[in-house]
């Protein structure tokens, strides 16, 4: 048998691959059927997976938006950042007293309704950040400075969601809104990461934010903590819990908890899992059936090739190369479609921040290759077992 190691051996495989690809591409119905079938399923898998991961990230984004603090302290019953359960103001001082805390600041997060001067109403997330440090206010794409909210009842708005309050596309800076009968003026814009509620976020000084929310005994949602140099955040979080009885999580832990909350409490994993599963099913069915049909229709020709002296290994290489070709092209089309969807989708606020992560790109490639190579192998088994003498039978 021809060895792969010799030059003529390598040439024989290259030559048979050339023949295999001509056999495949000469049958445009099956060729394009395979390519677009794989492309469509790749698109379905990678696009849906990207949206799924993007949605999960939304659960973590309120935490990830606060880059200055390494630890979040909260009521022990809180499971995710949008689940406000106020703690007493005294908690702030107790946390500050824990050894290892560099600084600790208050952070209020609650739902509110704004009424515009034009008569529109919109639900918003109202965030109160520390009056002095402004910790908790995203600095990205900040229009005007942080100082824009130092004035009384001034607010900085997430500029990505302006349209949810003013649909006419106006510049919101200088616009006044009403929250609980308090007049608030938008004095600046920032860019928040999209959160799961999808509501616009309005940032105010902590003292202003708690002053305009309905009266209740406690209004402090979280205490944001920075760790002294040389201390592990996990260790300090544990110590804060021991000392104060409050729940303390590192930024990464709390972000993960936000994601986990979505997984456990929504139907998103099931619906997206079904869509991704459908993509896999489409790939398997289209690839397996089309390759099986292709091999079955060419069975006599493969028999003739075997009789002529083409080895089983050469035939295996031929069919695998056909599968790899359609796999690569189909995958390229599918992943390209996903990239285009996500790129152009950035213009839509509801898709902002969605990305095709390397894991999704690589995972889709791996799945497609496993499917096409597996289907090819299943199809080619019949040829490998084929008696070359079949070509002499009518």
């Amino acid at each position: 048998m021809v060895s792969l190691g010799t030059q003529s051996g390598q040439r024989s495989y290259l030559g048979m691959i050339g023949i295999a690809l001509k056999m495949l591409m000469g049958d445009p119905v099956k060729y394009f059927g395979l390519v677009f079938g794989i492309g469509f399923s790749t698109l379905l898998m990678s696009q849906q997976a990207s949206i799924f991961v993007g949605l999960l990230t939304w659960g973590a984004n309120p935490v990830l938006d606060v880059r200055q603090a390494q630890i979040w302290v909260m009521d022990p019953r809180v499971k995710q950042p949008d689940q406000g359960q106020p703690i007493s103001d005294q908690s702030l001082y107790r946390v500050r007293s824990v050894d290892g805390v560099a600084w600790a600041v208050p952070y209020a997060r609650s739902a509110a309704t704004v009424k515009t001067m034009q008569g529109n109403i919109a639900a918003v997330t109202l965030v109160g950040v520390d009056n002095q440090s402004m910790v908790g206010l995203p600095e990205e794409n900040l229009t005007n400075s942080m100082a824009a909210i130092r004035g009384r009842n001034a607010a900085i708005l997430d500029g990505n969601t302006t349209h949810l309050i003013w649909a006419d596309g106006r510049d919101p800076i200088g616009e006044a809104v009403e929250i609980n009968d308090n007049r608030i003026v938008v004095t600046g814009l920032t860019s928040s990461l999209t959160n799961f509620s999808g509501l616009p976020t309005l940032y105010m000084k902590y003292s202003d934010a708690i002053a305009i929310t309905p009266p209740e005994r406690n209004k402090l949602s979280f205490v944001l903590v920075e760790v002294k140099p040389g201390i592990e955040p996990e260790a300090l979080a544990k110590r804060i819990t021991e000392v104060t009885g409050l729940k303390a999580l590192t930024r990464q832990q709390f972000a993960a908890a936000g994601t986990q909350f979505i997984i456990e409490n929504t139907g998103i994993p099931i619906s997206f899992g079904a869509a991704i599963g459908l993509g896999i099913l489409v790939a398997v069915v289209i690839t397996a059936l089309t390759l099986a049909m292709f091999v079955a229709e060419n069975l006599k020709n493969f028999g003739a090739l075997k009789a002529i002296g083409v080895t089983n290994r050469q035939i295996l290489v031929m069919v695998l190369s056909q599968a790899l070709l359609v796999g690569f092209i189909g995958y390229g089309i599918g992943i390209g479609g996903t990239a285009a969807f996500l790129y152009f989708g950035q213009a839509d606020p509801s898709l902002r921040g969605f990305k095709a992560l390397g894991e999704i790109v690589g995972g889709s490639a791996l799945l497609v290759m496993v499917i096409v190579l597996g289907s090819a192998y299943v199809s080619v088994r019949k040829v490998l077992k084929l008696d070359p003498a079949i070509v002499f039978r009518g």
């Binding site: 048998m1 021809v2 010799t6 030059q7 003529s8 051996g9 390598q10 040439r11 024989s12 290259l14 030559g15 048979m16 050339g18 023949i19 001509k22 056999m23 495949l24 591409m25 000469g26 049958d27 006599k300 020709n301 028999g303 003739a304 090739l305 075997k306 009789a307 002529i308 002296g309 083409v310 080895t311 050469q314 008696d387 070359p388 003498a389 070509v391 002499f392 039978r393 009518g394």
Partner: protein, 239 residues
């Protein structure tokens, strides 16, 4: 009886059985025969007499249940499968009843398959097969696809494929069965020319009596046995 060289291929006391449920069906009953160099040998007989089975065994695509098969002094029944495949690729040319050309390869590429599969560089293989196609009068059709050719032309492409690697044994299974009389005669003329090479033997399995006149020798089979093995004196003069 044991047959030896100078024959290109010899089968001796070959029995072939096929399983059928719990039983076996014996289709060849201890056949011995040899195929001569430089001649066209025809294996004839009614359908089901075992002639295609003999062809398959002689060409190494089917193994005998009992008996020995020697082709060009190589015992095929002793070769490992990989060596047998390589032997077929290099030493034997195949012509099938239905041509079995790859429809998506052009004429030149179809004719070059044995060379390409043996590691000859693509361009060299095409050049070599192209010379054979020129010789067979198919030069103007090299870039065409099989569907663009008549049945006779397709079978001539198959002949080019069978001869492109200059094999010592050419086996033909009903080469004219799908052709009209004129095309069949043209194809047989080419095979006859190939058989004139003293270093080549041509074996044709057929029951097309229109082509018997091309035979140097006709072996008649019936029910898995050779019933007549003779030269063609009793047949019409070879054309």
């Amino acid at each position: 009886m044991t047959l030896v060289s100078p024959q290109a291929a010899v089968i001796d006391q070959v029995i072939k059985e096929f399983p059928s449920g719990n039983d076996v069906i014996r289709v060849l009953h201890g056949i011995s025969l040899g195929i001569d160099y430089g001649k066209m040998t025809m294996l004839v007989g009614p359908s089901g007499c075992g002639k295609t089975t003999v062809l398959s065994i002689l060409s190494g695509t089917l193994s005998a249940t009992f008996g020995t098969v020697t082709v060009m002094n190589e015992r095929l029944d002793r070769l490992k499968n990989d060596d047998l495949v390589r032997f077929r690729r290099r030493k034997i040319g195949f012509i099938f009843q239905q041509y079995n050309l790859i429809p998506t390869l052009n004429v030149a590429e179809n004719a070059a398959i044995p060379l390409i599969s043996d590691g000859v560089a693509w361009e060299d293989a095409l050049a070599q097969s192209g010379r054979m196609l020129d010789h067979l009068g198919l030069g103007p059709h090299k870039a065409k696809f099989p569907r663009q050719l008549s049945g006779g032309q397709q079978q001539r492409v198959a002949i080019a494929r069978a001869l492109s690697h200059n094999p010592a044994l050419v086996v033909c299974d009903e080469p004219t069965a799908a052709l009209d009389a004129a095309s069949g005669q043209a194809v047989m003329a080419l095979l006859d020319e190939a058989a004139d090479d003293p270093n080549r033997a041509v074996l044709v399995v057929t029951h097309d009596d229109r082509i018997f006149s091309f035979a140097d020798r006709i072996i008649r089979m019936e029910d898995g046995r050779v019933i007549d093995d003779g030269l063609t004196q009793s047949l019409p003069q070879k054309v």
